[in-house]
């Protein structure tokens, strides 16, 4: 097993454990912090998969901005965690777990088929680097890129509208 593969499995354990804490822990602040750790472990996955630019974006955007926003809202609304909403009732829990197990089983059955077609392709020069990403983004993916910017604008206006103080 190569060093990279070893690192991958170690990281996978961290990712699964932190994800478990996110969905199970009662305190939302602990959930959010665990999610930050999870996002960093996903960033490490990106690094191991030769996506250096996405590694940086993942940490800056997800861990550094979105999750701070989450923590900010949690601390703003309910700093002491008094109104902590717990988990769903037993029947819903059982149904959920059954559905999740079924979904996992289906994916476990389907995914190995994708691996066929030999080993990984040779990587082109500058794979995953910022210049290559930028070039693709501004040529082939120009339209989706512009649409994404409009989406962000709409989201910003929407968030401002939802979050504004009521007139009454």
């Amino acid at each position: 097993m190569s060093g990279r593969e070893l690192l991958f499995w170690a990281d996978a354990i961290v990712a699964v454990m932190t994800a478990g804490v996110v969905i199970l822990h009662r305190n939302p602040v602990v959930c959010a912090l665990s999610l930050v750790l999870h996002l960093c472990s996903v960033a490490l996955f990106f690094l191991l998969l030769d996506a250096t630019f996405l590694f940086a974006v993942q940490i800056i955007l997800y861990a550094g901005a979105i999750m701070v926003l989450f923590l900010f809202v949690i601390m703003l609304l309910d700093p002491a965690g008094e109104g902590v909403a717990g988990r769903a009732g037993k029947p819903q829990m059982a149904l959920t777990l059954a559905a999740a197990a079924a979904l996992l089983a289906v994916m476990a059955r389907a995914l190995p088929g994708l691996e066929k077609g030999g080993g990984a392709a040779a990587l082109p020069e500058g794979f995953g680097r910022i210049d290559g990403m930028g070039r693709l983004l501004f040529t082939e993916y120009l339209f989706p890129f512009e649409v994404a910017s409009v989406l962000l604008l709409v989201a910003m206006i929407g968030a401002l509208f939802m979050g504004r103080k009521e007139a009454d």
């Binding site: 499995w9 969905i23 996903v42 609304l77 999740a100 691996e115 910003m156």
Partner: protein, 100 residues
């Protein structure tokens, strides 16, 4: 070299965990976090596939997913704040009606 199949399996497992989180939690904030888990799992699959195929399109998809996630988080959190202002709760089971 990270094996493609194991990366996909990890991604599938994380996705299902996120789904479970969305379904069993009642706090709107933690439900949003579950959605983030699922989006990240999808991103992992995209990036692993990009590495496997040797083309950067998968990475760009992950990039766009992150953009959407940022928009989703902003609007979602604004909704949670608006909800909390009105109802003093973030428990989704207590706001299951359409009108008040």
């Amino acid at each position: 070299m990270v094996p493609f199949g194991s990366a996909l399996m990890v991604s599938a497992l994380l996705f299902v965990m996120g789904l479970v989180g969305v379904l069993i939690r009642r706090s709107a904030l933690v439900i949003l976090m579950g959605i983030e888990l699922m989006l990240n799992a999808a991103n992992l699959a995209f990036v692993a596939a990009a590495r496997h195929v040797g083309s950067m399109d998968g990475q760009l998809f992950a990039f766009f997913v992150m953009t959407v996630a940022a928009a989703e988080a902003a609007v979602g959190l604004a909704i949670v704040i608006a909800l909390f202002r009105r109802r003093r709760t973030t428990d989704v089971d207590q706001v299951s009606f359409l009108k008040w």
